[in-house]
């Protein structure tokens, strides 16, 4: 717990001990140990982890790899969910706005690339990505401007409708490819530089397999690792921006608005403008993820943007811990990776997946890694229970 100098009389030890067993371990411990390391050691550690992440599709580690699907492809899917979760986290976790139509932005990003890259024009991929992002950001502002004036449940309903409207519009507009969708979506431009061999595992020993290689950097159909690398790179950029925003005045304003909108206004925070900014930033990232999805897929149709996807996105953020970027990344990994890992279970896999979510909801109601403020709020609740209310004192 990050309670700082909590004095014993306002923080009954009951609240503390109630936390201990539930969490199982001191979450701050790992983070503290890493920050306590000397700077060069810390950066080496972070660097090694980053290299490991990039190398994942080449390592083909047996327990991680998905036996029934191409691991590179699964990693890309996971990465695009992570990206979406980071975007939705700005809206839902930071600004506290329940957006149930996030798939709408994902779809707009994907359709921008598909429509202007294949169906109606053949623009360069380098132009399509910024276009997709600009279009989704604008649509975020257009959706947000009238709807962010309503609060809570109404916003959820309006955004839910938005997601469906986007899908139905695509489904019923010939210019957008209608039900048959759009093929030949441009892939990221390839440069053929060198070959990287994969590892092959025999039990616990690994050998370099020279027959199984990935060409750097070719975005083809068979080998999906380069798409994963692209998405991972985008994630790092988004993470950097996310961190900057969070620590800035903008982050503070979001936090205040989420905790108490009226009180935030009384502090001089233009809450509406900041909610709109959160919506637009979220749309930006969602659109980016959709655009990457379309250029990997090569083919999109309205079926790819079902309402269920919005729910899954929200599930990823909530399961992980809304408001904590590392939490939502974990959540996205759970939501995207588990069904692929257990594809071997055939139709049972969704049942298993649903059960996993239920178990998580029961044992970690605040998410896998809840943000500091949620942990604090939980402590308050437990403290209040302990005091049984009404004993106001200083």
């Amino acid at each position: 717990m990050t309670q700082g100098k909590a004095s014993p009389d306002t923080e009954p030890s009951a609240a503390r001990s109630a936390w201990g067993p539930r969490l199982g371990w001191d979450r701050g411990a790992l983070a503290r140990r890493i920050t306590a390391l000397p700077v060069p050691a810390k950066w080496t550690l972070i660097g090694a982890f980053v290299v490991f992440l990039y190398a994942l599709p080449l390592l083909e580690i047996p327990i991680l790899s998905t036996p029934d699907t191409d691991f590179g492809a699964v990693l890309f899917t996971v990465a695009s969910y992570v990206l979406v979760a980071l975007g939705l986290n700005v809206v839902l976790g930071y600004a506290g706005l329940l957006d149930l139509g996030y798939v709408g932005f994902y779809a707009i990003g994907a359709y921008t690339v598909a429509v202007f890259g294949s169906l109606q024009a053949q623009l360069s991929w380098w132009l399509l990505i910024p276009m997709a992002v600009v279009f989704t950001t604008i649509s975020g502002v257009l959706l947000g401007a009238p709807t962010l004036r309503v609060r809570g449940d109404y916003l959820a309903i309006v955004t839910l409708g938005f997601g469906e409207i986007i899908r139905l519009t695509a489904l019923n507009t010939d210019w957008l490819g209608a039900a048959k969708g759009i093929t030949g979506v441009p892939r990221p431009p390839s440069v053929e530089l060198f070959e990287i061999p994969h590892l092959q595992w025999e039990g616990a020993t690994a050998v370099i397999d020279l027959d199984d290689t990935t060409t750097f950097l070719v975005f083809g159909v068979a080998d999906q690792a380069p798409y994963y690398w692209l998405a991972l790179t985008v994630i790092f950029i988004v993470l950097g921006a996310d961190r900057m925003l969070r620590l800035s005045r903008v982050g503070r304003a979001w936090e205040a608005t989420r905790e108490d909108e009226d009180a935030a206004e009384l502090m001089g925070v233009p809450t509406f403008r900041f909610k709109l900014l959160a919506f637009a930033s979220g749309a930006f990232i969602g659109g980016l993820s959709g655009a990457l999805f379309a250029s990997r897929q090569g083919f999109i149709n309205p079926e790819s943007f079902q309402l269920l996807l919005s729910i899954l996105f929200v599930a990823a953020v909530v399961v992980g811990g809304a408001g904590n970027r590392w939490g939502v990344i974990m959540g996205a990994i759970v939501v995207a990776y588990l069904p692929e890992r257990f594809r071997g279970f055939e139709e049972w896999r969704l049942l298993v997946f649903g059960m996993a979510l239920l178990i998580l909801a029961n044992f970690r109601p605040q998410g896998l890694i809840p943000p500091r403020r949620t942990r604090r709020a939980q402590a308050v609740d437990e403290q209040l229970e302990a005091l049984e209310e009404g004993t106001d004192r200083v």
Binding site: G4, S7, E255, D262, A263, L266, M267, A379, R393
Partner: protein, 238 residues
């Protein structure tokens, strides 16, 4: 006059919360609005800080018409409110709450340490709690934080909504003496209170609200001495 309110009417839907009220607050004074629950005191204060829409009438602050100005635009002008029910940011620490109070000021970084010192001088309790999550503090401490946070914006006019609500008698005394101290430091105060006895004691002028209308006006001392006021609001003895 620092604040002039004229013919103010505010509705909640079709219900009239306040009807045609007119009053003013002089620079450097403590003015109090007292009255029973539901008399419209809090609505009046929320309207002055911009959280409620005005149906009719006008609000002028330092001669400037602010009737329809948004809340967040009034803060830089010098209007600051400590909201009813100690609405602090529960997940933020004491210091983070105070920093939010200075959010609207461009020169906040320059005066931060002096401002914090001032607030901690008024409320030494907050200094002891400075890194604690605000939501884990007691009611009295949260009230202190709400007032301290409102002071961080360097207000010309401080709006206090029921600062004594739900507090123990000893603590109420303490809060009121701090309110006097804030006034002595040069901040004008508009105080809304159910604790009429205490409020009238420190008020230069007072208005009594009843079902959305001002029914009595006078200096704090006059009203505190008035028999009918004593009977209705002071429980017969002060």
């Amino acid at each position: 006059m620092l604040l002039e309110v004229e013919g103010l009417c505010v509705n909640y839907g079709r219900i009239e919360a306040i009807r045609d009220i007119t009053f003013s607050v002089e620079q450097g004074s403590v003015v109090t609005l007292i009255g029973a629950n539901g008399a419209g005191k809090t609505t009046t204060l929320k309207t002055l800080s911009g959280l409620r829409k005005v149906r009719a009438g006008s609000v002028r602050f330092q001669g400037r018409d602010v009737t329809h100005m948004a809340s967040h635009e009034r803060v830089p002008l010098g209007i600051s409110q400590s909201p009813e029910g100690r609405r602090i940011f529960p997940g933020m620490s004491v210091v983070e709450n105070l920093d939010m109070g200075a959010y609207a000021r461009a020169d906040r970084a320059k005066t931060r340490s002096a401002d914090l010192e001032r607030v901690f001088g008024l409320f030494p309790r907050l200094l002891e709690r400075r890194d604690q999550a605000a939501g884990t503090m007691s009611g009295g401490e949260q009230q202190m934080l709400a007032i301290g946070r409102a002071l961080m914006s360097h207000p010309t006019l401080l709006l206090l909504d029921e600062p004594s609500m739900g507090l123990a008698p000893k603590l109420i005394q303490q809060i009121f003496s701090i309110i006097k101290e804030i006034r002595e430091q040069g901040t004008t105060i508009l105080l809304v209170e159910q604790n009429a006895a205490q409020a009238l004691k420190i008020a230069d002028s007072a208005y009594i609200l009843e079902t959305g209308e001002i029914v009595r006006t006078g200096t704090g001392r006059e009203l505190a001495a008035d028999d009918s006021v004593r009977a209705a609001y002071l429980g017969g003895d002060v």
